[in-house]
């Protein structure tokens, strides 16, 4: 069953199909919706388990460990939540208890940052947990199911962390194949606790104190069990492939089998790297290239990776880390790669450079990998390079020198010669052609722009198209300008997740954004792209003039606010815009989409369906007949003045307490 869902929901499906029996959680962005989904399923009886609302991640980890002594258990967390679990996590690995934690990877601050990087997972790399990095929602679902087979294997019995990058992974809506419960049941047997906590015949004590002699002997055993996870992961990934058609290993090698230049990474940025490899591979002036994507981060498959690199006779490895070294030689992945290569290859070790990027939700775009392969080519050429990490997207400290004036003077003294000796190789920087249809929606937070994009994606996926929606999330309040990107793949299906940030269609939900100087919404519109605006104020010609569009671009308007008002939907005009999007985007069939919306449209259903239909019909590239603008919408006004109703309940409680006490 292929459905459109975000990474968090996919992980929740993984837990549901694995028949998780106990799920304690404390919500934290960006993994919250995974836990919310599980709580909803348990609440309505779709999932047979217990959800415990604990008061902190520390308690969630304690509860999940306690539960794992007797039943299959799971939780989800992120960032500081995972760090708060650290104190107890080693009780899980030390007590040899299998359970799974889904982590929506997020920066750990300070300062506070809610967006994705791998710093949280890196921070617990010394807690003895098996760590798998998923690259997309599908992999997250599959990895959760496999994590129980791996963790519960009798030669392993260790907890597992399934990582997926926050927002770009956890909140990106994409097509996911959900296996049937029966298939998963035949792949994953029910949980068998080795030392159940309440067993009358064999009562046990967990975590008693052990003195040095026994302690070190126990730690020897624990390490041996963790090591076994490596080959078990390989076997389970292969068996998963036999059953479900999607095989997994400890790492992936995409590109030339005998690549001279390798970029190594973990997690979600794999999607962009893959796109660049297929774009650059075999081009004139480009060496043999490959991406090494590490899936099993812990236990690190050192020997296998070293062997693979040795076989390929690789000259240069560039390691991309979404995390910091904090004073170490390299950040964690680069450190592990360097140690693995040095330990196993000795003098045959290829040159290795480390790059830090993607911190706190920084984009990792396809063109970044062009730079990384360029760097690798320079290094392989024997040119001087840095032994400390490079940084992505820091103008004062670029990887390759583009603008000498911007470079920091202190760094220039130290690395000026290195920069000057590193040429920019044009062959590596051929722009990625934008072959897919990309849509960007601009709206104001609260207008439901993301909701309509999600519906659009759902309808597309239902029609077997490869549609991906990547909303951006910020700390915006209601009324701030937000945008969301949707991609519809055209041509050969290689399940891309790489956006080129050049749009075929820009939808503007609020005509006040048109004139906002900070947003320039059509800056990245393709020359023959389309603009769709919710407006009853401006004519298409005026919009063309306001945005300074070229002659090949087409402009459509739809009076969405007015239609929504007429349908008594208040300020919720996003469904009208959804219909209008179908009118201007030819790729998703409207008739078929309508059957999807009939099943899934939000309440009030009839009005929303009518809104979609009217949006579809009333979109035009002509000037609208002048109509009187609707008066200020009382419901919308009320909506924007909304306050949590608990406030009044609290006051009520205080008042009745006073009455009681006289």
């Amino acid at each position: 069953m292929r459905l459109s869902m975000a990474g968090n929901t996919a992980a929740a499906w993984g837990f549901r199909l694995s028949r998780v029996q106990c799920y304690p959680y404390y919500p934290i962005t960006p993994s919250t919706t995974c836990s919310e989904q599980i709580a909803a399923w348990v609440g309505n009886g779709d999932m047979d388990g217990v959800v415990i609302n604990v008061e902190s991640e520390h308690s969630a980890a304690s509860a999940v460990i306690a539960a794992a002594k007797s039943v299959r258990a799971a939780t989800a967390t992120s960032s500081k939540g995972l760090l708060y679990m650290v104190e107890v996590l080693e009780n899980g690995s030390g007590s040899s208890l299998p359970f799974t934690i889904f982590v929506g990877n997020r920066a750990t601050g300070a300062p506070i940052n809610i967006w994705g990087d791998n710093q949280d997972a890196y921070a617990v790399r010394d807690s003895g947990l098996i760590q798998i990095f998923a690259a997309n929602a599908q992999e997250a679902l599959d990895a959760v199911i496999q994590s129980y087979r791996i963790g519960e294997d009798l030669t392993v019995r260790q907890p597992v962390l399934v990582n997926l990058r926050g927002f770009t992974g956890t909140h990106t809506y994409e097509p996911v194949d959900v296996p049937s419960a029966a298939d998963v049941d035949s792949f994953l047997p029910s949980y068998l606790p080795l030392e159940p906590l309440f067993s009358p015949d064999q009562p046990v004590t967990y975590n008693a104190m052990l003195a040095a002699y026994y302690y070190r002997r126990h730690k020897r055993n624990q390490t041996a069990a963790l090591r076994n996870a490596s080959c078990v992961t390989e076997n389970v990934g292969r068996q998963f492939g036999e059953k479900f058609g999607r095989s997994y290993g400890k790492f992936d090698w995409i590109g030339d089998a005998d690549a001279d230049l390798v970029v190594a990474l973990v997690g979600e940025s794999f999607g962009a790297a893959e796109t660049i490899v297929s774009h650059l591979q075999g081009r004139k002036g480009v060496g043999k290239i490959a991406v090494l994507r590490v899936r099993l981060f812990n236990p690190f498959p050192a020997q296998e990776i070293a062997t693979r690199i040795y076989k390929a006779n690789t000259k240069a490895v560039v390691v991309l880390d979404e995390g910091l070294p904090h004073g170490d030689v390299f950040p964690p992945l680069a450190l592990r790669m360097a140690a693995a290569l040095q330990a196993h290859l000795g003098t045959q070790t290829p040159r290795l450079a480390s790059v830090i990027g993607g911190l706190g939700g920084s984009d990792i775009r396809p063109d970044h990998f062009q730079t990384l392969f360029n760097l690798a080519a320079n290094i392989a050429d024997g040119r001087p390079y840095r032994r400390e990490p490079y940084w992505l997207d820091i103008d004062e400290d670029p990887i390759l020198l583009t603008d000498e004036k911007k470079v920091d003077q202190k760094l220039w003294k130290r690395y000026g010669d290195v920069w000057k000796a590193q040429p920019i190789l044009d062959a590596y920087h051929k722009p990625l052609p934008s072959t897919n249809y990309e849509v960007r929606i601009y709206g104001r937070a609260g207008q439901g722009a993301i909701t309509s994009a999600v519906f659009f994606t759902g309808a597309g996926v239902e029609q077997n198209l490869w549609v991906v929606t990547k909303p951006t999330f910020g700390s915006e309040r209601r009324g701030a300008v937000v945008h969301t990107d949707t991609l519809i793949e055209q041509g050969a299906s290689n399940k891309t997740r790489a956006f080129t940030a050049r749009q075929d269609l820009v939808c503007i939900y609020d005509d006040t954004i048109l004139t906002s100087p900070t947003h320039a919404p059509t800056r990245d519109l393709k020359p023959d792209g389309t603009v769709l605006v919710n407006s009853s104020r401006y004519s298409p010609a005026r919009i063309r003039q306001l945005l300074g569009l070229g002659p090949k671009a087409s402009v459509f308007i739809v009076p969405a606010s007015r239609i929504a008002h007429e349908l008594q939907l208040g300020s919720f005009f996003n469904m009208v815009m959804l219909g209008a999007m179908h009118c201007v985007c030819p790729l998703v069939d409207f008739g078929a989409a309508m059957t999807y919306y009939e099943k899934n449209a939000p309440r009030p259903k009839e009005a929303n369906l009518e809104a979609i239909r009217r949006g579809y019909q009333e979109t035009t590239d002509k000037e609208l007949p002048a109509v009187e603008l609707p008066a200020v919408d009382a419901r919308a006004e009320e909506y924007f003045r909304w306050r949590p109703e608990e406030e009044s309940l609290e006051e009520e409680m205080l008042r009745s307490l006073e009455t009681l006490r006289g």
Binding site: M47, L154, T205, N221, M653, S656
Partner: protein
């Protein structure tokens, strides 16, 4: 949650919270949650008690909602938890050879165990006497004297002699002790060193001299302290000794 507690016509709706307990689950009705037997007709829902016993000081809000957290006293005795899970058995080749296990393909299992070598293990999982599952694996431990996860199997533990830890001898005077109607000391003893002897009026508590570590807790807690029921070094616990131990 989005299940309305009240449906349109104001009638209370109920639903079930599934649990992993084999015998009990929970029924939700309005604001209340009730445990009930799983074997009972799963659709039938226990009706909420009309008046909670301690409803005297309920705070009722404007819309009839309960405010605050009322305390309900439940007079039922604690039931024995029945959903206990038996631990699986883990056997070596030699142990398998000595045992007769119903429902096991001996030849295949023995072959595979032999293939796995000396660390080959057979895991047997039985429930209600029937073999449900078995698995073969290689014991990952390097140091076989430490159980998996460093757990301690309580029944295999031999009680340690801790008499060397104490400086005084603790003895209960059977004449003064209240016996089975009291047993307070045996419940507070951290070393489980105190056991009840005899029955009825003749019963009394006795301290196991190898298990007592001399912590004074029983003496402090004894219900008949005034009657000097627990003797220390054969003596009544005098003020000098008290000063030495409690710094008074």
């Amino acid at each position: 949650m989005d299940h309305g507690e009240h449906n349109g016509n104001g009638k209370q709706q109920s639903w079930r919270i599934p649990t992993v307990n084999r015998h009990k689950d929970f029924a939700v009705s309005g604001h209340m949650v009730f445990p009930r037997d799983k074997t009972a007709n799963s659709e039938c829902v226990v009706a909420p008690r009309k008046e909670p016993p301690s409803a005297a000081k309920r705070l009722v809000g404007k819309d009839g909602k309960l405010l605050g957290f009322p305390v309900f006293h439940d007079n039922r005795t604690v039931e024995e938890y029945e959903g206990l899970m038996p631990a699986p058995e883990i056997l070596t080749l030699v142990e398998v050879a000595r045992r007769e296990i119903e429902g096991l393909d001996y030849a295949a299992v023995m072959n595979q165990l032999a293939d796995l070598g000396p660390d080959g293990r057979l895991l047997l999982y039985k429930r209600d006497g029937k073999l449900l599952r078995y698995e073969l694996f290689e014991d990952p431990r390097i140091c076989k004297d430490i159980p998996r996860g460093a757990v301690i199997h309580n029944l295999e533990q031999k009680p340690a002699d801790v008499s060397g830890w104490r400086v005084h001898e603790f003895v209960i005077d059977p004449k003064g002790c209240l016996g089975e109607v009291c047993t307070r000391c045996s419940r507070v003893c951290p070393e489980n060193a105190i056991h009840l002897r005899g029955v009825g009026a003749d019963s009394f508590c006795e301290i196991d001299p190898t298990a007592c570590k001399g912590c004074f807790i029983c003496w402090v807690e004894c219900a008949r302290k005034a009657a000097d029921c627990i003797l220390i070094d054969g003596k009544v616990f005098d003020s000098e000794l008290r000063a030495a131990h409690f710094g008074e």
